[in-house]
């Protein structure tokens, strides 16, 4: 069964701006799925429509086979949303915020109280349960939004840039928690993120959206195989004055002359690269990838599209 199924979804705002131009998307149950795209691509509009915050212009959306036009109550009961912006009552206590959302989902007070305690403890917020939400740090607010989204135990959790503005430690702990609930509880997770490293580390499938259209989708591993180049940064033992000409490798200089960048074609052995460098008296002390592979693939796709439309 698909957790989410979208057919020919369009959205035109009152201003005339066409945010979605007919997207089709399927997310299987149990998947960890990323929706990637540059700012203004249509990610948040798509998520807004799925979660009933935005009115669609046309198209069909099914959540666990519940049509949002027909079975809205069942569809909404299946979804937990972690929005991009903080949207709390700033005067309400942490505990009441989670309890209220449990109530909106029809969970009785007694059960809501025990679930609220469970999720606040799990997300390290129990000590702050009586604090007003405005007193929380940014990372705590992010975690509160996750606790609030999970309190009715949805089958589909949607996170719109969940780790934006949080430090690395909290980001990693959120990654661990999301992976845990996906693996152990079977919750389907859809996230949008600007951190492509995040999508590569967490997700099995991705869709890339740009200009209101899906321009690529599939398994992360499959998309990465489509990537034709990988770029490495090499630290050399001394400054490299003249860049080597060693096809099929392409070298570029960096501001630090003891570092050079090299594009390595997919499938090309790195042994051959080091042999060629050794023969040019270049000694490599260490190396790292310039950026994650998904990011490179993403940038190339988006720039290709921009080039095609300009």
């Amino acid at each position: 069964m698909n957790a989410l199924s979208i057919q020919n979804l369009t959205k035109t705002y009152a201003s005339g701006a066409q945010a979605l131009k007919g997207i089709d998307l399927s997310v299987p149950e149990g998947d960890f799925f990323a929706l990637l795209g540059p700012n203004g691509a249509g990610k948040s509009t798509a998520i807004g429509i799925i979660s009933s915050l935005v009115t669609k212009t046309s198209g069909k959306v099914h959540i666990f086979e519940h049509d949002i036009d027909v079975e809205i109550e069942a569809a909404k009961s299946s979804i937990g949303l972690v929005p991009q912006e903080f949207n709390f009552n700033s005067f309400e206590s942490v505990r009441n915020i989670v309890m209220n959302v449990a109530g909106y989902n029809g969970i009785t007070r007694k059960l809501a109280a025990s679930r609220t305690e469970f999720y606040l403890r799990r997300l390290d917020l129990w000590d702050k349960r009586n604090a007003a939400s405005r007193e929380l740090s940014g990372g705590m607010k992010r975690r509160l939004m996750i606790a609030r989204a999970l309190v009715h135990e949805p089958k589909l959790l949607i996170l719109d840039e969940p780790t934006a503005g949080v430090d690395i430690e909290i980001r990693r702990s959120m990654w661990d928690y999301l992976t845990e609930i996906n693996n152990e509880n079977g919750i389907t997770i859809i996230l949008t993120t600007h951190y492509l490293e995040e999508a590569e580390a967490l997700c099995r499938n991705v869709a890339i959206i740009d200009g209101g259209q899906i321009i690529e989708q599939g398994a992360v591993s499959k998309l990465l195989n489509l990537s034709k180049l990988e770029t490495f940064v090499l630290d050399t033992d001394k400054p490299v004055q003249t860049l080597p000409q060693l096809p099929p490798f392409t070298f570029r200089s960096r501001n630090d002359s003891s570092q050079i960048e090299v594009d390595v074609p997919q499938g090309q052995s790195l042994n051959g690269l080091f042999d060629s460098l050794s023969s040019n008296d270049i000694v490599v002390k260490s190396m790292r990838t310039k950026s994650n592979r998904l990011e490179e693939f993403f940038m190339r796709l988006v720039s290709q599209k921009d080039g095609a439309t300009s």
Binding site: S52, K76, N87, N89, M99, N100, G103, Y104, N105
Partner: protein, 258 residues
């Protein structure tokens, strides 16, 4: 859980949240109407009223008090829902309800119940204050209570419609300042419409608040400028019209969805 049981739990959650909100800030929400009531009763009822004999066969102080109570109920029912619903929009936590399976009817009923709770709470506080000055015993308690609650429903729904359209707190205060207050003051709190010149009396009959205040006054004193059935009819017609408008706006997502 689904269906009616889900909506019931959601409804009680909204009402509990709304009552908690106005009780948390009771200094702002409950005490000012009590202070106002004391001032009105002392100045108009005591100082000026002592020079007026009777109105519609009752002492002026007794005539005045039901209107003062209704003024508190009307303004506080409206203010509670308009400011609370607008805050949920402004801080975007209305999204908590929009992504949940709460029906729009439940949202409307929840907010209106919160507004009625505050309106009646203020009415009781003002009544308690009035007891210091007069012997306040409603002649028809059921009529008194039903007119108070139904009037509170009218203005709670009105407050929600105002908040749906409002884009700033200024827009939340426009209707209370420039529509509600004048209509309330001209709605027969301080005088009987029989005391007005014929044309002004006829114009006053187009003011719906006149029917509400007189219905309430009838419940307490047994005297009114308006037949009781007309008071109920006007209030119920307004509830039906405003509730229909409110549901249409919520279903369309006016002011709350893009």
């Amino acid at each position: 859980m689904s269906g009616w049981s889900l909506q019931w739990v959601a409804y009680t959650t909204i009402v509990r949240r709304e009552v908690r909100r106005f009780m948390r800030i009771w200094v702002q929400t409950i005490t000012p109407p009590a202070v106002n009531a004391v001032l009105y009763i002392i100045i108009f009822g005591g100082l000026i009223g002592s020079r007026i004999r009777e109105v519609n066969g009752v002492p002026y102080m007794d005539f005045l008090v039901p209107g003062i109570i209704m003024m508190g109920i009307i303004s506080n029912s409206y203010a509670n829902v308009s400011s609370s619903f607008f805050s949920t929009k402004l801080q975007k936590y209305i999204e908590e309800m929009l992504v949940s399976p709460v029906s729009n009817l439940t949202i409307l009923l929840g907010y209106v119940s919160g507004g009625v709770a505050r309106g009646i709470a203020v009415g009781l506080v003002v009544s308690a204050v009035a007891l210091v000055f007069i012997d306040l015993k409603p002649m028809f308690p059921l009529i008194t209570l039903s007119i108070a609650i139904l009037t509170s429903v009218v203005f709670s729904i009105g407050g929600l419609i105002n908040a749906v359209y409002a884009k700033s707190f200024d827009e939340v205060s426009v209707v209370p300042n420039f529509v509600l207050t004048p209509l309330t003051y001209l709605g027969g709190i301080f005088y009987s419409v029989n005391m007005l010149p014929p044309l002004a009396e006829k114009i006053s009959l187009f003011n719906p608040i006149l029917y509400m205040i007189n219905g309430f006054r009838f419940g307490i004193l047994g005297v009114s400028d308006i037949p009781l059935w007309q008071s109920f009819a006007v209030i119920i017609v307004f509830i039906v019209i405003l509730a229909t408008v409110a549901i249409i706006l919520l279903n369309r997502g006016t002011g709350i969805k893009t």
